[in-house]
């Protein structure tokens, strides 16, 4: 096993040559930026398609705010999922975890617990369920796919038990988290999404913890031999995913003033799609949270655009699938072209 080093993100590492300020380095930097921007270009192209289809009103502040709002829950789920995937694992239990968390939050609010403590307690609940996932993977040695499939069922049952199979409606203690609009346009879930994305992006890209997390995902054995407590980072990733799912559950409760055991039924598919669109390598060790955000926004643009254009639901499923394939092909095309250029530069 070769010696382990933390991922080097410097342009010189990517291009393999060049001194600071050299032309090669500048070109390498530009190429890296372009590679990271590929999904943003895909987002821009997707928006352009719908502007051409629907008209300039697609770019109205209100519509863009609605798109951001519709992407916010997907993005929050996806950020948690991305961290787990970067650690070389996967979490399929986020939807029922969010549903159970929403029910816990509703029960706390109904019991008279003030909203902020209720939010913190619910995040704690999500962290506990995330810890269970992490321990099943690290201590029990169960594959993350199987472990979180099992907890998907368990947490779903837990949600039904906690709610006694019913909806809990008329709980408005989290309305500030789900419905408030800043300046009459920007929704609270959008703001929460931005905060979650920025904090997580900084954590992953700019802290030693984040780099170690990527190291664990990239080569767990090498990371362990370098003294990194791989189990702790793995459990930490699941705890983070549990917390983001619980946060999403609280936002849903605030948004709907209703908690239901089947809430967020499509969350895991949307989240993994956003993660894949964002170019996070499913085998772990690589990824960029800002690209995941762009992936979630692509989904939001497509769903909103199709509805604005009156595409009937059954056809919308087909068109969504086709557009996603086109988006991924375009993203791969751009990324591949940039990487080939980088390799050519490195050889030169």
């Amino acid at each position: 096993m070769s010696a382990f080093t933390l991922p080097d993100r410097s342009p010189s590492a990517a291009t393999g040559s060049g001194t600071p300020g050299s032309t090669v380095q500048r070109e390498g930097t530009g190429m890296l930026v372009l590679r990271d921007l590929a999904i943003v270009l895909v987002l821009a192209v997707t928006i352009a398609v719908f502007v051409a289809w629907y008209g300039w009103d697609f770019l109205s502040a209100g519509n863009l705010a609605d798109i951001a709002d519709s992407a916010s829950l997907t993005a929050i789920f996806a950020v948690g999922e991305a961290v787990v995937v970067m650690a070389g694992r996967i979490d399929l239990s986020i939807a029922p975890l969010a549903a159970a968390s929403g029910i816990v939050a509703a029960k706390l609010l109904e019991a008279g617990v003030p909203s902020v403590p209720a939010l913190l307690l619910t995040l704690g609940f999500g962290a506990v369920l995330g810890t269970v996932n992490g321990l099943l993977v690290t201590k029990a040695g169960i594959s993350p796919l199987v472990a979180t499939l099992a907890t998907l069922s368990t947490y779903s049952g837990l949600a039904f038990i906690l709610a006694d199979g019913n909806q809990i409606f008329g709980v408005d203690g989290f309305a500030w988290l789900g419905q408030h609009r800043f300046g009459g346009t920007l929704t609270a879930p959008t703001v929460v999404m931005v905060v979650v994305v920025v904090v997580t992006a900084v954590f992953v890209r700019s802290t030693a913890w984040g780099l170690r997390l990527l190291a664990v995902g990239g080569n767990e054995e090498a990371a362990r031999r370098c003294g990194i407590r791989t189990d702790a980072y793995t459990v930490g990733a699941f705890v983070f995913s549990g917390c983001t799912a619980a946060l999403a559950g609280c936002i849903m409760l605030g948004f709907l003033t209703t908690a239901e055991p089947t809430a967020a039924s499509t969350a895991v598919f949307d989240a993994i799609t956003a993660v894949a669109l964002g170019g996070v390598v499913l085998s772990g060790g690589q990824g960029n949270i800002l690209r995941v955000l762009a992936g979630a926004l692509v989904l939001g643009v497509i769903s909103t655009g199709l509805l604005l254009n009156g595409v009937a639901p059954y056809y919308a499923l087909v068109v969504t699938g086709c557009l996603l394939v086109l988006a991924i092909l375009l993203e791969n095309l751009l990324t591949g072209a940039v990487e080939r250029r980088l390799e050519k530069g490195a050889r030169a």
Binding site: G165, F169, S265, G310
Partner: protein, 329 residues
């Protein structure tokens, strides 16, 4: 003849009991505590397997629990399976129930056509079966259908919606529907067709400008309605596949600064939330398919069939339920 009349009398009495099960079927709170004098087959407690379309659909989860709660009263335990809207999974699960030799089965087929062979197997094994919601392609001895016409249900909803539009909007205006692609079959397709047909026939000036896919996820229903309202600012009402979707659309309607009492919203499912909205006047009408009564019927019929092999229910009966329009009272 005399014997036949006696059987008919018993069936009539049982159906009368079924019809009066509104309270029993709807009330899970009693927890089946009224267990005194519970009829039991040969003194032993029965085991009834339940396989409805999905336990992930709250109303179906609720009526399953209601059915379970009636177990003490009618002398049975319940094995609940969850196909989660997967026809193949349901077939495997029901076959497992047959293998296990449960005393009876109550089921609603995810895919009626592919489910036929399983019904044959249940009948061949002598296991009385109640099929709820969608009738079988072929009647069989030992199979009782608790039938419900989804198209008529949708038509009744559409009729009330058209009535509202005629009253409040002079029969003209743009409206939206919220459907779902998370569930398939007549439960969705026939219901939505009934709604569209009724609106078109009874309020021809009303324009259904768009349909959104709520994917059985209320957040998506709100977001879909919000987008529809952005594209068609003149939308004055919504209906759709269920209370959750209609109430979600109502939330988006309010966000757009509109008062639901001036628009048209018709709910369906008979949920607690829907009844509350009917009482406060934000829903024009609410329809209850009486799901709990379907299961209440099964709770009466199946023990009767197990206990009495000569019961007329063995001769393939259909118990028809019709949607009831809920009242604020």
């Amino acid at each position: 003849m005399r014997k036949l009349n006696s059987r008919r009398l018993k069936v009539g009495a049982t159906l009368l009991l079924v019809a009066s099960l509104g309270l029993a079927g709807c009330s899970s709170d009693d927890g089946g505590s009224a267990g005194g004098g519970a009829p039991k087959a040969n003194g032993k407690r029965l085991t009834i397997g339940v396989s409805l379309i999905s336990q992930q659909i709250p109303i179906l989860a609720k009526i399953t629990q209601d059915f379970k709660a009636l177990g003490d009263r009618y002398g049975y335990d319940v094995i609940i399976t969850d196909p989660n809207n997967d026809a193949a999974k349901q077939i495997r699960q029901v076959r497992a129930l047959i293998e296990r030799k449960v005393d009876a089965i109550v089921t609603g087929a995810v895919n009626p056509e592919s489910f036929e062979p399983v019904l044959d197997e249940a009948v061949a094994a002598g296991i009385p079966t109640v099929l709820v919601g969608i009738p079988p392609l072929e009647q069989r001895r030992g199979l009782v259908t608790v039938d419900f016409n989804w198209y008529d249900y949708g038509y009744a909803v559409g009729k009330a919606f058209a009535q509202c539009m005629n009253e409040r909007q002079s029969g003209k205006g743009q409206v939206g529907l919220i459907t779902t692609t998370a569930v398939s079959g007549p439960v969705v397709a026939d219901r939505m067709k009934g709604e569209r047909d009724a609106i078109k026939a009874l309020a021809p000036g009303v324009d259904i400008v768009a349909e959104a896919d709520g994917k059985s996820d209320r957040v998506k229903a709100v977001q879909g309605a919000r987008t529809m309202l952005r594209a068609h600012g003149d939308i004055v009402g919504f209906t759709g596949i269920g209370d959750s979707e209609v109430m979600g659309a109502m939330q988006a309607f309010r966000e757009a600064g509109k008062d639901p009492k001036n628009g048209c919203f018709v709910g369906l499912d008979g949920s607690e939330e829907g009844i509350k909205a009917l009482k406060d006047g934000t829903l024009y009408a609410e329809f209850d398919p009486q799901y709990s009564n379907w299961m209440g019927a099964a709770a009466v019929i199946l023990p009767e069939m197990v206990r009495d092999k000569k019961s007329a229910f063995w001769s393939s009966k259909t118990v028809l339920f019709t949607p009831a329009q809920a009242t604020a009272e």
